[in-house]
Symmetry: C2
Subunit: 523 residues, 2 copies
């Protein structure tokens, strides 16, 4: 089973299973989840679940906790249902946890979490002797993050009793109501409290809009009945939202179902048959989302994908803003190596937070110290222009043309500046990501302002290392963000001058830049 993965929920009796398990499998899903409690209630006997369902993929079973949430109680005990899951040969089993509905008080959340933890301890002998099944340890606490955090940490103490997978319980109501920012908070709280190497399951997450955000924070496994519940309700899942079939005039999808039927044709198909077609479409959509996310992970561009998804729906944007609260955590875990394939895509103001950009940006500021007395800052342009940086005939970059002459001298350090990439030493220009990025050019004021602060921070840090420092900032008047940059920089030079740093802002077109630099005996 390759993660991240979503287990489609199936009916254990198969009586109401409108989409066949072979069909689910042929879409690409090689694992399913079903309900051990309902199976036990219906079946009364103990049989191999793989034989019973005639499914040789991975079968995860849930314990009936959802039924507790829904009906208030279940007619089984924790030990009984855990033993049952072992006996039927579940590949992944769950203890009978006590769900936390999202509206409960902190007191009741504490109760659910404590009961769940105790139940996990209570069955440790069974799970320890049942090693063919991977056991899930659910963590409760609902939206009470302190409760979640406390019980997540307590759970790590008993994980070694024989558990293999952590789970975050019951955010279903939040997910259904698109309160995705709270779900992100819950996921972070649990993920950052348990061992990073252990898988984390998120119960009930089955919409393409939330999946990339929770995966970015370290969710490995999910399960969802949404594909069939929505289908029964004549609802159609897209990568950004859920539609009622009635409101669609087109089926904005290329899956086999949507390539075969029009929206109008689908509407005319009666009862269970259209439910099945919608369920298949929903499954194709979920599976394509998984493939998209996995491809993004392999390419090292999951952040770029989150930036895009954040603009697909306001709930996605809320989830994204919540993810941004946990950047420090993400950075500490982000792979720091050049990913294969394309360069970094700068597509939004949030690209500055891309781990591939902000980690080197901070490292440069914190660890690089100029060696020379003079520091020259030059604007960094687009990649195809920087590639001409050292050539005799630069393309469309009057400023860089001058820089060639500047680099011929050796009495100063050269740095490039860019609203997203920050301050880049000349000798790192040919390294990733500075050698490989693609961007747009209309940067918003806040990015340019932040760049001013970054430059000032960098110079102040540099001034600690050497007594005398002379700073020259070249700004071109042909680019809007550079004009903006000059305006903001002027507001802050007194900070530098008050520290005894000599500062020159050279706001000019290419030709005049050279002559002014000459005047200052830089060349």
């Amino acid at each position: 089973l390759e993660t991240p993965y979503i287990f489609p929920v199936i009916d254990p009796t198969l009586k109401n299973q409108i989409v066949g398990l072979d069909e689910i499998r042929s879409i690409g899903f090689n694992g399913i989840i079903t309900n051990a409690y309902l199976l036990k209630k219906n079946l009364k006997t103990v049989e191999s679940i793989h034989e019973r369902l005639n499914f040789d993929g991975i079968i995860m079973t849930d314990s009936g906790a959802y039924q507790i949430l829904r009906y208030g109680h279940v007619e089984t005990s924790n030990r009984e249902i855990v033993q049952y899951q072992c006996d039927i040969g579940s590949d992944i089993g769950v203890i009978l946890d006590m769900p936390t509905p999202y509206y409960v008080t902190r007191e009741n959340a504490l109760k659910s979490a404590e009961i769940t933890l105790n139940r996990a301890i209570e069955v440790s002998d069974i799970i320890n002797s049942c090693r063919e099944t991977l056991w899930v340890l659910p963590i409760q606490g609902g939206t009470h993050l302190d409760v979640l955090s406390y019980y997540a940490r307590r759970s790590t103490e008993i994980f070694g009793y024989g558990y293999s997978i952590y789970a975050l319980g019951s955010p279903t109501t939040l997910l259904e109501n698109y309160i995705l920012d709270k779900v992100v908070d819950m996921v972070y709280t649990v993920r950052s409290s348990v061992e990073p190497s252990r898988p984390l399951h998120l119960f009930g997450a089955g919409h393409p809009l939330i999946i990339p955000f929770v995966v970015a924070l370290g969710v490995d496994l999910m399960d969802s009945a949404s594909y069939i519940l929505y289908a029964k309700d004549k609802r159609y899942i897209t990568r950004r939202a859920t539609y009622r079939l009635d409101e669609l005039q087109y089926l904005p999808c290329s899956c086999p179902i949507c390539s075969k039927y029009t929206a109008e044709e689908l509407r005319e198909i009666p009862g269970n048959e259209v439910t099945k077609l919608l369920a298949l479409h929903n499954l194709y959509t979920l599976y394509a989302e998984l493939k998209e996310i996995k491809e993004c992970i392999k390419e090292g561009r999951l952040w770029e994908y989150l930036e895009e998804k954040a603009r697909a729906h306001p709930a996605g944007r809320r989830a994204f803003e919540a993810v941004k609260k946990y950047l420090a955590y993400i950075y500490s875990r982000a792979p720091y190596s050049k990913p294969r394939g394309k360069g970094v895509f700068i597509v939004s103001e949030d690209s500055v937070y891309n781990p591939k950009i902000l980690i080197p940006r901070r490292k440069i500021i914190e660890n690089m110290t100029p060696e020379k007395e003079h520091i020259v800052f030059i604007p960094l342009r687009r990649p195809y222009e920087t590639s001409h940086y050292y050539t005799a005939e630069p393309v469309h970059t009057p400023s860089n043309e001058r820089c060639i002459e500047i680099t011929a001298s050796s009495s100063y350090d050269i740095y490039l500046y860019h609203p997203v990439l920050g301050i880049v030493p000349k000798h790192l220009l040919d390294t990733y990501p500075f050698s490989q990025f693609e961007t747009f050019t209309l940067y918003r004021p806040e990015l340019v302002k932040t760049l001013v602060y970054t430059l000032i921070e960098f110079v102040l840090l540099a001034s600690r290392a050497r007594r005398s420092l002379k700073v020259h900032v070249i700004v071109n008047d042909d680019t809007e963000w550079q004009r903006m940059f000059a305006v903001h920089l002027k507001h802050h030079v007194k900070i530098l001058r008050s520290k005894g740093i000599e500062f020159h802002l050279i706001e000019n077109n290419a030709k005049r830049v050279t002559s002014e630099l000459d005047d200052q005996h830089l060349i």
Copy 2:
């Protein structure tokens, strides 16, 4: 033929046509484009093109202009190839225009445009007598926008000679190099110069990344060979970019091809067979993009889709920034009626430019004048909160709770303010879009600053209408954007006071708001 539409380019001899026309049709494409010049060269006889290709959908023929661009000349004349297209029964025919490569001088662009115009005049007798074919009038000028604009206007003078469709010629090189912002400029230049009711064809546009942007500016028809050219080059089109098959680990798509094969399996399929599968995938992707755009148009959410697409790829962002230069044009043509379905999605800083938002925002500021001496401004919260605005028990909105008491009085006008929606009179709260929007809450400083300017503009306009004006702005200290709003507003109140306007900023939590309002005898 429903627009917007993309004609897949097919080989007129069918010898190298790897994907069958029946397969193209079964994906959903009911029109194709082929090359009349190449057909004529190969065939030597005159036959019905529908019979020849055995295709009963719509057949558009191109004239050989692309061959001029590629080989410098063609072995036919304008009159000859136009007559030929008529004789073979093309549904849509094109005159032999003179392409403008994107690197040519203005002088050569002028020449291409002039020759093209003259050729359009030259064949007016043929096209006038051949009314079974719809004739395309190409406009040349390349990236020289003044040339394009001049010849677009000149073209309107001869359009009545028998033409049915305008076309913008030859942005192929720009499209291939993802210089999409220039393409947007060219499209706008032509579209805004010719009659809005006439269809406009954009030659060579066949990538999902550019399609929604040019459609938003009024392109109706496109054609592209990209599906097969990319496939032959083992390239895979996605909604955001183009991949080499070799670099993909997953096929991030749900189309019948990508649901049947994995990336690895596809790589192992030899020669023409994998080309065909990739071409089919590319066609499915293009067709799904068309359906997505059409659904967005029907739902009135094309702007939201552009916001999302702009974050899919830096070239998309560049195209989007180019589209934003033409907002005045878009607004003048945007439908102004409540679309069916969901409310407005506020997903990015660019949502403020959504025609559904900025048009009413401006209308209110320009046309609404407060009647009372006192104006009270109250923050507008999320929809589910505003729906509680008049009820006895508001949810989570301490400020709104106070507003209920305020609304009981009648000695003042009440307006709500919001970083994206602007200034909204209380009585319009239940109308679209103010009654139906979904948003996030972390607004960037620039939006909040713009709101301050909007409020000041509104008050200044109001002060012209009545001599004495007293303004009360309520700000809650529990929301970041409102705190930011208060800070910026304070910087600007002197403008209001200098005009004799009484101004009160009430920065408080709910309870204190009431008492201060009481003190000011507002209630």
